[in-house]
């Protein structure tokens, strides 16, 4: 049942969704509307199941509870069963591959640190912003600014200590490659899961269900967009277009002359996969929040938390560009595609998270 005080938000977001869906449909056909709907579903699912990365990682470090992080590996292992065969067999589907280099190490570390300051990762910022989080109203604009700053830096550092793309079991057949990657990802899930059982931590069945729901949506995104789901490039593009609108010659920077970014900068934001899904996520989370009464009515958090959110957003933006994505694009998309960079991203972001938690303690961030 709709809560009366949220009908305004519900109406606004419904109109926004319908209008953008129609615009996208008229120009790009059914693909645009499908991707927007998948984004809406992702936003609703993430909010409903409270599917967080930042809190799950913190839970392991602070409470020695790997329950949530185990589901992240289960999610990646489920995705990899479908991702790798599709990537191998379909010429129209690409994996989330990226080079293993110095910028990956540094960027992932920065991202992990920033994620704890902002209290959310790429997807977390989107769905909590959609549901009215004041902290994310601060974190998101800084995330966008940070990701544009990242595009200025990336071309200068991308080749430093670069080993190029490393595909796990790269010379094997599609079946062997899927099996190797699945065993590795599912193995980590099992290790964490065994620890959960050993410590008698109760298994969260709702999150388990959420993991399957997110996995299905990730596979659908891959099928309908032709590439694994990624969050942060959308932010980068939004920022670049905003910078351009205030007279900053973004188009003359090296990154924006690479053919992919150049194409997206010159075209409508609604012709970019990541942007469409991001917009959908905000709408989906906001719609669900307004329907089931989860729309935030909290007051503005203390100044220290808002400043931390701003710094965290900025760092996540820079880190995401340097390390080729966030928990979704780099870790989930990378590991599920069989790319080594996904594993390295996880390790470095986890170290960053550790230091981010130390910072949170020091400034009294609850």
């Amino acid at each position: 049942m709709l809560r009366i005080n949220n009908i305004g938000i519900f109406t606004l977001l419904t109109l926004a969704g319908l209008f953008l869906g129609l615009l996208s449909f008229f120009d790009s056909g059914s693909q645009g509307i499908i991707l927007l709907l998948l984004g809406i579903s992702l936003g609703a699912v993430f909010l409903f199941f409270q599917y967080g990365f930042a809190s799950g990682w913190r839970s392991l470090i602070v409470k020695k509870n790997p329950s949530m992080i185990s589901y992240h590996f289960l999610l990646a292992s489920l995705c990899c069963i479908i991702f790798i065969p599709l990537i191998e067999l379909s010429p129209n589907i690409i994996g989330s591959y990226a080079p293993v280099n110095l910028s990956l190490l540094i960027g992932a570390f920065i991202f992990g640190f920033g994620m704890q300051l902002a209290n959310g990762c790429g997807s977390g910022v989107l769905f909590t912003f959609g549901s009215g989080s004041t902290r994310m109203m601060v974190a998101l604009p800084f995330f966008i600014i940070g990701s544009v700053i990242g595009t200025f830096i990336l071309p200068f550092v991308i080749d430093i200590m670069s080993l190029g793309q490393i595909i796990i079991a790269g010379n094997a057949t599609a079946t062997q490659k899927t099996l190797v990657n699945f065993i590795a990802l599912f193995g980590v899930f099992l290790l964490f899961h065994m620890y959960v059982r050993k410590r008698n931590i109760s298994i969260d069945k709702k999150l388990l269900l959420g993991t399957f729901a997110v996995a299905i949506l990730c596979v659908l995104v891959l099928i309908f967009s032709g590439s694994p789901w990624g969050v942060t490039y959308g932010f980068t593009l939004w920022g670049a277009k905003l910078f351009q609108s205030i007279g900053i010659p973004i188009e003359s920077f090296t990154f924006w002359n690479y053919s992919g970014p150049k194409r997206s900068l010159e075209h409508s934001v609604l012709s970019d996969t990541s942007s469409l899904i991001n917009i959908g996520m905000i709408i989906g989370a906001g719609l669900l929040a307004s329907i089931i009464g989860m729309f935030s009515s909290a007051k503005w958090p203390p100044k220290v938390e808002l400043i931390s959110a701003a710094i965290g957003g900025l760092l996540m933006g820079i880190g995401a560009r340097l390390s080729f994505g966030c928990n979704i694009g780099a870790f989930l998309g990378g590991t599920a595609s069989g790319s080594l960079h996904g594993w390295i991203w996880f390790a470095m972001a986890f170290v960053g998270t550790y230091f981010g938690i130390i910072y949170r303690d020091k400034v009294g961030f609850k």
Binding site: T151, P155, S264
Partner: protein, 50 residues
């Protein structure tokens, strides 16, 4: 300021900017930057040329 008001302002502003951008920019097919030939990463950055 009330957080709900800020939220509504951000959504309306964003929507206006998206529509403006959409109406003033060409639209081809929907794609990701990583789908270009020379892309070495999902953001479209190329690998070092050997």
């Amino acid at each position: 300021m009330n957080q709900k008001k800020v939220y509504v302002i951000i959504i309306i502003l964003t929507l206006t900017l998206i529509i403006y951008d959409h109406l003033t920019s060409p639209v081809l097919s929907i794609s990701s930057p990583g789908q270009t030939k020379e892309a070495c990463a999902p953001c479209g950055a190329p690998c070092k040329e050997e």
